[in-house]
């Protein structure tokens, strides 16, 4: 009974130590990721200036200039939870070179192992990235109207945790396409492009005109960046917020099942190439 949690704890501890080796790389990478926001900020500043709305009064699609900058900063937090660098390509690589068979012959569940590995990665990332995040957010605090009420913060945190799970199981499912097609890197690149556009990383997706807005809002990708940021900014409230959180939970469950099913079906046709 106790052996399973002990195994999980050991995996988490080893992964934490492994990730801490790259702490300087993490910190530098985090600071670098804020740079595109600087250019986006100046772009939107120029746009708001052109329509005479840069002094706080006017809005574009319901966003004031301050809202817009705050939105881009908040999507950085969403992405810190939902992005899974190297997960899908790592799974596809393991399938291609035969490494995946270690999960088949050892009493370790692959998805559980990778999830714990990713939790460790994220924990170390937050530990190191907290410094650049605090610096950037305190420098930019004038763009925020203040802290939202506690219930909104709780909803935002719930959405972020689900964004982590959704990001993990969605990318794990994509990686497991490797059981059927050996080369999936190009497919992953296409997914990355669509994700950048449709998750709200590039711009708030409620800016889109109809029917594009409805189309993008029907996808699970918006929960990876847009939705948690929109909750914090008070763009989604009341019944709409509850409905959104429930839909996000449904997508998480859908992708847990899909990832499990893909692994089950994939391993049945797996040929274990490589040494």
């Amino acid at each position: 009974m106790l052996s399973r949690p002990a195994t999980w704890w050991t995996i988490l501890r080893i992964s934490l130590e492994e990730r801490l080796v790259y702490r300087a790389d993490f910190a530098l990478g985090t600071l670098m990721r804020f740079l595109p926001i600087v250019t986006q900020m100046f772009l939107w500043w120029a746009v708001f200036e052109a329509i005479g709305a840069d002094k706080g009064g006017g809005a574009v699609a319901g966003y004031t200039f301050h809202n817009m900058v705050a939105y881009y900063l908040l999507t950085m937090i969403s992405r810190a939870f939902s992005s899974m660098p190297g997960l899908a390509s790592g799974i596809a690589q393991d399938i291609r070179d035969g490494t995946v068979k270690k999960y088949l012959i050892q009493p370790i569940d692959m998805l559980g192992f990778l999830l714990l590995n990713r939790v460790a990665h994220k924990l170390v990332y937050y530990l190191v990235a907290i410094v650049p995040f605090v610096v950037v957010f305190s420098l930019c605090r004038q763009f925020f109207a203040g802290w939202p009420p506690p219930q909104i913060l709780v909803a935002c945190l719930a959405s972020l945790l689900m964004a982590f799970l959704l990001g993990f199981f969605l990318e794990a499912t994509l990686g497991m396409i490797g059981f059927w097609f050996l080369e999936v890197n190009s497919l992953l690149f296409v997914y990355m492009l669509f994700s950048f556009f449709c998750s709200g990383h590039m711009f708030p997706i409620d800016m889109l005109p109809s029917p594009w807005r409805e189309l993008v809002q029907g996808m699970p990708l918006q929960y990876l960046a847009y939705f948690p940021a929109a909750i914090f900014l008070g763009k989604v409230t009341g019944a709409e917020l509850v409905r959104g959180l429930c839909t996000q939970l449904c997508w998480v469950v859908v992708f847990i099942i899909t990832a499990r099913a893909a692994f089950h079906l994939g391993t049945r046709r797996y040929s274990a190439f490589g040494g």
């Binding site: 670098m32 497919l187 950048f196």
Partner: protein, 278 residues
Amino acid sequence: MGQRPWYFRVLLTFLRNSLVRDMTFRANFLIDTVSSISWVFMNLGFYLLIFSYTPTIGARTGWGKYEFFLFLATTLLINSLVRGLFLENAVEFSEQIRTGALDFALLKPIDTQFLVSLGRIEWSAVGPFICGLLLLVYSLGQVEHTPGALQAVLYVFYVLCGVVIYYSLMISMAATSIWLGQNRNLLDFWFYITNFSRYPMEIYEKGLGFALLYVFTYFIPVLTAVNVPARLLAKPFSPTTLADWLLPGFAVLATAMSLAVSRWIFNRALLSYRSASS
């Protein structure tokens, strides 16, 4: 023996070999082309969305919708040339340093920088390049003025200057792998820096933006690389004062300086190279 290699012929061989390689993996080439063109359309969609809310980028800057699309086309042309000719090589160069495979390049009877920079050419960059050309032609038909022959010639010249500036920055950053051993952030770093040149330089003319404007115009001249050619086509060309010639003049100097500095960094880095393998 002792004969200088005919560099143009070697370049043609690189072009041909890379094409043969790309055509061997046709499906991969097709997906690469489609995904890079999709990226162009996504960006175009984003800017169309922006222009549905505003007539210009910045007040009184003259960057209306089609003027900005000329800017975007210039960015696409420079980026696709740099990506197609050098990006894969810069990544490979860092890897060669890490694994020690650079020994083979050093032993060849040809300039190492030339070999390392152009050995592998990515033909899938032709897709976004053509998109850039089409966007350029379409936008030229929409702006009020028509550029003359001199502007067209200068445009081509300055686009090539832009390519050289981008390349110099890229190869300098790749060469630092020799000192760092492993340069995990090389590509990210290059993307993050060139990201500042995605928009007209006028957007930085406020507050802290002035610092960015000076750094990325004069010290790491990525803003100069794109803005000078884009302005030639997007804005009426009537240089009357010395100040009008200042930026185009500086662009030529910046190109020569960038190339010289990158060459110096590359050679200095090679002196510190200690083969990594056995």
